[in-house]
């Protein structure tokens, strides 16, 4: 196992946020964490990266106890893309170069810069390389954050809603790239998401969080309408298109008519 989490608890000001979280991730797996707002998705990712200190439980990455690892050691093993991306007055190139920080000595090496260039090309950001971050759109900023985490060369990528600001084309581009990064490179990624259909389309496994606990851990193809209904409290239907599950909510109160021409 690449990542093993066992009975993880986290409380904020003695208010429990996560309790008894247990799951594991294999190399090559892309895992989506799903659940309603406030279920603890972001907190779980932050606990794995030790941005938040878990109260109880264990986290092992490649057999190493994450909770006793130094911050720099963790940074070499895990990349993290936060939900909100700041836009300081740095160029796109420099912002992505920040991802090399855990591997850097006192100075930026030419190899670091070459890696950044390759990542920018991979994410089609090369034309924006010398633009300042505060001049970018939300979607472009999100791609910069993903590029930064990728040049960190982690074993595990943690992404908090990585596609929330992206248009359809860029959502597919980023998730396809993540799929590509994870497949066959001995890496894994865990991402929190709200868009169920995109999650089912790209992830291998989904973890449903509800009321601070794991409600279910299932392969995407085995997700049932009952499961989604239990987690979100909304009746849904699941149809399969090209063997991918597609969720259609059945709450008709707000439904608009869409005449077929």
């Amino acid at each position: 196992m690449l990542l093993s989490i066992d009975k993880l608890n986290f409380s904020y000001n003695s208010r429990p946020i996560l309790s008894g979280i247990t799951f594991s991730v294999r190399p090559g797996q892309l895992v989506a964490i799903l659940g309603p707002n406030g279920a603890g998705k972001t907190t779980l990712l932050k606990c794995i990266n030790t941005i938040h200190q878990a109260g109880e439980g264990t986290i092992f990455l490649d057999g190493n106890d994450v909770l006793s690892m130094g911050r720099e050691h963790i940074a070499r093993a895990m990349g993290y893309v936060s939900q909100k991306t700041e836009a300081p007055r740095l160029t796109v190139f420099d912002a992505v170069l920040l991802g090399r920080t855990p591997h850097m000595g006192w100075q930026v090496s030419r190899n670091d810069m070459k890696m950044v260039d390759a990542a920018l090309h991979r994410l089609e950001l090369q034309d924006l390389a010398l633009r300042y971050l505060d001049e970018l759109s939300g979607g472009e900023l999100q791609k910069v954050a993903v590029a930064r985490a990728l040049v960190q060369e982690p074993r595990l990528l943690l992404l908090d809603e990585p596609t929330s600001s992206l248009d359809l084309k860029n959502q597919v581009a980023i998730l396809s790239l993540l799929r590509q990064v994870v497949d066959g490179h001995g890496m894994a990624a865990v991402m929190s998401m709200h868009d169920l259909n995109t999650a089912f389309r790209f992830a291998d496994t989904v973890i449903f969080l509800k009321n601070r606990c794991i409600h279910a851990v299932v392969p995407c193809c085995s997700v049932t309408a009952t499961m989604v209904e239990e987690v979100y409290g909304l009746p849904v239907e699941i149809h399969h298109i090209n063997s991918y599950p597609v969720v259609i909510p059945l709450d008709r109160t707000e439904e608009k008519s869409c005449p077929v021409q």
């Binding site: 895990m78 007055r89 890696m115």
Partner: protein, 355 residues
Amino acid sequence: MHFNDGEVPIAYERYLASKRLVIIVTTLLMALAFMTALSLGAAQVPLSEVIKSLLGMEVSSRHQIIVNSIRMPQAVTAMVAGAGLALSGAVMQAILRNPLGSPFTLGISHAAAFGAALSVMILGGGTMSSTGAITITSPMLTTMAAFTCAVLAAGLIIAISRRSGATPEVMILSGVALAALCTAGTMFLQFFADDVQLAAMVFWTFGDTARASWPEITLLCAITGPAALYFLANAWRYNTIEAGEETALALGINTRRLRLVGMLLSSLVTAVIIAFLGIIGFIGLVVPHLMRRLIGGDHRFLLPASMMSGSLLLLGADTAARLILAPNVLPVSVLTAFLGAPVFLYLIIRGRSCC
């Protein structure tokens, strides 16, 4: 996944070179300003004589005294203080992630002024000469009192921050509260002071580079130099903080320690400068903003550029302050505030990119 098929883009290399050029040009301008400062004054010394004197060649003893004994200490003080204030301002703005980070907003200047006022009251430190000039009878004690209060203020902010998680908000709000407290303390002392003491207290707050002589300059350099080296060595880490707290943590940076040490050193540098020279405003606030606008927010370049421009600006302002109302000398702090405030307003009006 390996990203090993990239090249260093030529445009990026050019971009880095342009930033280095700004630093080099500022340094050259500073050297030029230094020689001009030694040359200009009530008694003109030709530039050639200044250069000869700097190179250790023989010049007239009058020129030797004017350059080496009178103008040199003041010019060096202005350079070191300007560099220290601008660098500390840039670091405070980085670690607090707030464009208002400076010794003023954090109450360090106010605490120093309170310390000086306290020493003037307790030690009876102000006298009036027959010409009406106010002098402080125990400059060393006044300096020590100002320094102690400034360091205590910084220490208090750091202690509160340590207790409450070292977040920028805690640091800034503690600073604002402390500034108000120190101002109240100073006003309390001023209310009970006689006219000579009151004049001495006010006189102390006028920042003046002529107050320091070589022993003080050595101490200024001994504190500013190592602190500057630490800041420059951590320039890249300040970039990670700018990218956001969580991102910095995820990149392996101990943000809490970086903030506390940065705060401690920048406070120490400003405390020692303010204690020796009085309050010199706006350099720590305006210069980093000016440079951020010119070369961006990459601290690898922003810190040295701020240091050099702070040096250049204070030296230029100091020289101008000596010349504007010659033979009277205007305190440099008045001039920096006169110059700094409109520049700052201009930067705000021109757009948010500066902040």
